[in-house]
Symmetry: C2
Subunit: 628 residues, 2 copies
């Protein structure tokens, strides 16, 4: 080992002793950053420093000055808590200054957050919920190979603990299934989790067997032998197979006081100890890395299928025809395929959600994700990161499976259009396992989300199209059954708006519905009209943002509101209406009809009636309010 340099520039041809000096710098900087912050995960950073030093010096093709270079490789820290290491790499790349690293990490208002988020231009996706980064990496690799057709590779650093998450195996299954030869996961097998040894400890062969069983190539290495790492990363990048590098490492490597010791997860070293550790690592260094560059920026090639791009011509429906909103969703999605950035994904129920219409029209932009809702969202996020507009669909009930991924997608600030079909007890005979009656609560509570719930095919098609231009997470709730078309083709449905379908100066009550309950509200209004009671009817197709103005006016003018929703009472339309009314001084009499019991199987009308959502129930609730 030659004397370790403390400044200078490393490149792909640098000797491994210089790369080792870089690794020690990454270690020292990880310690310095976290000790200065007073929190963070230095030991989880130390275990992976050698792996990342070799990667960034010799393999990661990245133009640090231009993070938007389309052929840049992608680096994702699935073990997001190792952010000190990632940020130390950014310092080594020359894009984060030492001072920023040691004074702003984890501090309020600064960008070097506790876990990486895309507020940093070199970070694609937010991580920190374990088992997700690898899944997003697969999505980006899929976008790169099959949509963009660009030569970039995706490198993911995973922890060993996080492989307990099933989502990791959904991801590797996908990588194997698609033979994503541009995908490399590096698993940092440091043996220790947060609260004790991991399940598999240092059984690197077990990790390798699992990766291979899921269709990936596995390479087992000593994660502190730089030459071995270098050889493995060279093989991993040979473009022949998705690869999992299983690296046996030591948590806290390089600092004898904490190395391989329990009780040091997520704890910064106390100052004195940190000083000793940094000294032991060779002191503070300021090495800079100029690693491999991506191929000289090719212009973007044509997107797949974009040759046939034309204007979006939404399907048109005749008022009165009975059409399911899920059918309109599928037809509109297929129409949107004229926009080459639109892609569609479905979790093996495309013939129920009708996303299969898109598949038929644009098979090269349709992704069958099988019954793996988490990976479906992750694939979609990866594609969104690369500039596509993904639509992902399954039953509303099964989107709950991907709740944590949707939550994190909101932190990543990507655009993501979700469609959940088969909402509510309306679905009938399949019973409660298939009934989405929590989805509005889930989707409304997602940061910055938009929640849409059309009642007819015209509005479903229009709102499906609108989602392609909205930021953040958008959700379209669709219904299984066919109901009459209410609106003529061409009608506009602004997000945040509503439609008032029955209206007169004599209205004494307002019935608010969306989806299937809107049709019940219309029938209830007819029933009430027969008794001489005029009822206003509002189609609240935009659940978030909600049309507070119309609701407040209705409350003021009619004095009574009945809200009916095919959803549990909590977090859905009823509470959206109450929140919209709350700031105003207007306090209508209020009734809220929702699904409060456990439904079973049955016919749609039987189940809606049993849930208290039939026209008769709505009319009865209105009468009760008026009788007060």
């Amino acid at each position: 080992m030659t004397a370790a340099p403390t400044t200078g520039t490393l490149g792909p041809d640098s000797d491994l002793d210089r790369v080792f000096a870089l690794a020690q710098q990454l270690r020292a900087d990880s310690i310095r950053a976290s000790t200065a912050a007073g929190s963070g995960h230095p030991t989880s950073s130390l275990s992976a420093a050698d792996l990342m030093a070799v990667l960034m010096t010799r393999h990661l093709r990245y133009d640090w000055a231009d993070p938007d270079q389309p052929d840049n490789d992608h680096l994702i820290f699935s073990k997001g808590h190792a952010s000190p290491l990632l940020y130390a790499m950014f310092k080594a790349a020359g894009v984060v200054r030492d001072e920023e690293l040691t004074t702003s990490y984890r501090r309020f208002g600064h960008r070097l957050q506790g876990h990486p988020t895309p507020v940093l231009p070199w970070v694609d996706v937010a991580t920190g919920s374990l088992g997700q980064g690898i899944a997003y990496g697969v999505g980006i690799a899929l976008a790169g190979r099959d949509l963009e057709r660009r030569p970039y590779r995706v490198w993911v650093l995973c922890g060993d603990s996080e492989t307990a998450e099933g989502s990791v195996w959904e991801a590797l299954d996908r990588a194997g299934h698609h033979r994503l030869a541009n995908f490399v996961a590096v698993v940092d097998v440091n043996r220790l989790g947060q609260s004790g040894p991991t399940e598999l400890e240092w059984d690197t062969d077990a990790y390798a067997r699992r990766a291979e069983a899921f269709g990936c190539r596995a390479l087992v290495v000593d994660g502190h032998d730089l030459a071995e790492i270098d050889r493995a990363l060279t093989v991993a990048a040979d473009g022949t197979a998705p690869t999992v590098v299983v690296a046996r490492t030591v948590k806290g490597r390089g600092v004898p006081e904490v190395a391989d010791r329990e009780g040091w997860h997520g704890k910064p070293l106390p100052e004195e100890m940190a000083d000793r550790a940094v000294a032991g690592l060779g002191g503070v260094r300021h090495l800079t890395v100029e690693g491999p560059r991506p191929p000289a920026g090719r212009p973007a090639g044509p997107l797949p299928g974009s040759g046939g791009a034309g204007p979006v011509e939404l399907p048109r429906y005749e008022v009165g025809d009975e059409v399911a909103t899920r059918v309109a969703f599928g037809a509109a999605l297929a129409a949107l395929g004229a926009r080459p950035e639109v892609v569609a994904l479905d979790a093996e129920v495309g013939n129920s959600t009708h996303s299969e219409e898109f598949r038929k029209a644009y098979p090269e932009r349709f992704f069958q994700t099988y019954i793996a809702e988490q990976q479906m969202i992750a694939d979609a996020v990866g594609m969104a990161v690369r500039g596509f507009r993904p639509y992902a669909s399954t039953f509303a009930a099964f989107l709950t499976r991907a709740h944590d991924f949707i939550r994190m997608a909101a932190v990543s600030r990507v655009p993501l259009a979700l469609c959940g079909t088969h909402s509510g007890v309306e679905i009938g005979a399949d019973g409660p396992s298939q009934m989405g009656v929590e989805d509005l609560a889930m989707m409304r509570a997602v940061l910055g989300s938009t929640v849409l719930y059309p009642s007819d095919a015209t509005s479903a098609a229009a709102l499906t199209a609108a989602m392609a231009d909205l930021d953040g997470i958008t959700y379209l709730r669709a219904t299984r059954g066919a109901y009459p078309v209410l609106y003529a083709a061409g009608e506009e449905f602004p997000v945040g708006g509503s439609k008032t379908l029955r209206h007169s100066a004599e209205d004494r009550v307002t019935l608010v519905g969306a989806g299937v309950t809107l049709h019940a509200c219309l029938a209830a209004a007819d029933e009430l009209a027969g008794e001489g009671v005029r009822a206003r009817v509002v189609d609240l197709y935009s659940v978030k943002p909600v049309d507070a103005g119309t609701l407040v006016r209705a409350a003021r003018e009619t004095g009574a509101l009945v809200v009916a929703e095919d959803h549990h009472p909590e977090g859905g339309i009823g509470e959206a209406v109450l929140s919209a009314l709350a700031p105003s001084g207007d306090r209508p009499a209020f009734a809220h009809l929702a699904v409060t019991g456990l439904p079973g199987s049955g016919g749609t009308e039987e189940l809606l009636d049993a849930a208290g959502l039939s026209p008769a129930h709505i009319a009865r609730a209105a009468r009760a309010l008026l009788a007060r």
Copy 2:
């Protein structure tokens, strides 16, 4: 093959030709039931009929007359859509009449629902959300071996499509890790999913490699060769290893018109076709099965650790001391260990949630589930099925990972106590990936749930204890930081109640908080008091059910309400309060403070202030209401 019998009784010693006659009966009955219902999944039933005929005749030890016999084996249809087959088995077992099968399946008000639920005494858990039944099976097997120490085995019938769910691999990982030799999964590899071929089609070796890589024994069989099935099930039940029987089958087997054909998933055969199919299967039969019986009912043995059972002595805290609610949760959980039915599970963060206190006191009733939240819930559900009272804990944010499992646990009607710690932006430096700001919306919308959110250690301990006696899904939201103890030991906290901490006849505004915001409300009340404004302060520790009476009274008496919550605005405390007030005529001025933006890292006070949840913000909101 001898002439097929159409009546009579089969037992473990019956020839396989009689077992084949039973399989054909199960097929015919699956077709008859679904055709009569007009919906359902006959072809998915047909593929598994031979497997189940052999299982129930020769291997499943079950006293059909006494489903509560504690040594009965457990049979779970993870592919819940194959309910026609399961119900046909119930007919063959003599517990469901042919008439019920052919007239009530999937009909309103009847128990033979589209997917099995525990309204049937022979069904342990609700299935129908794929990839879950196998996970619950692992939980029951774990309970049987490690908690009950009973000889029952758990048999799970899985579909092949559902193995795309990561949860399946979490489950098999658990089975392998614990060497659950009482666990057998039978995978019905019929090659066809809902919308096309499965990912692995008939690559049974790939399934076997995966199962083995996760620590299970794999046995590949022809799923229509009864002798081969019989041998495999014999091996599987030898008590030496968790086993996955990978059975190559044909979807629609036995009905040439649909066998191995696409387009027949989830479709009943039209009547004429059904008649032909039943005739081809040998017509309607009424064979009855008396399979193996469980060992003669032993009395229940002592539960592990119950030797030390004594009275529950909750931890006591001094008013004013600063104690985190998560610390009190852990201490109370450990105290509850005196009740032998209480078990605890944690997803590798027990030193953060403080469930490790239970582990230290009752290691034999603590289950480390590693970072696999779905399996954590599934293990807990399995244990609840067997009469235990599981407490499962992790960060509030990461419970979203298990949302679909929690949803289904509610359908299964099991008692399940969940604790989510590190809620809200309060956690500080770790940043948004670790902040639970959607959990109240998620948990409130769960059917029949109870949602608790203590502000101090005394109430946290009391509510933790209360959860052990509540039905359904209960959720305790806990906070990371330490805050002053507000209540003296012994104070009672009824579920559905609240505490009014500041109260006078001159109150002009009510401040409603829970958890960390209650402390901010108290400080805001002090600030307002300094200005001569008396503010009522309500600790809304019970978010669902909520104390409507106190809220309505406060609205009436003070005329203005400020609700502050460390959660997104949708579906949480603010909307719970609005829902509680809605039926009354009282309409206070209302302000709702919640987390509306994307937080970053920072200090707790900085982040709460940035989210508008500091005492100053609360006081300002109160002043604004009063100035109206």
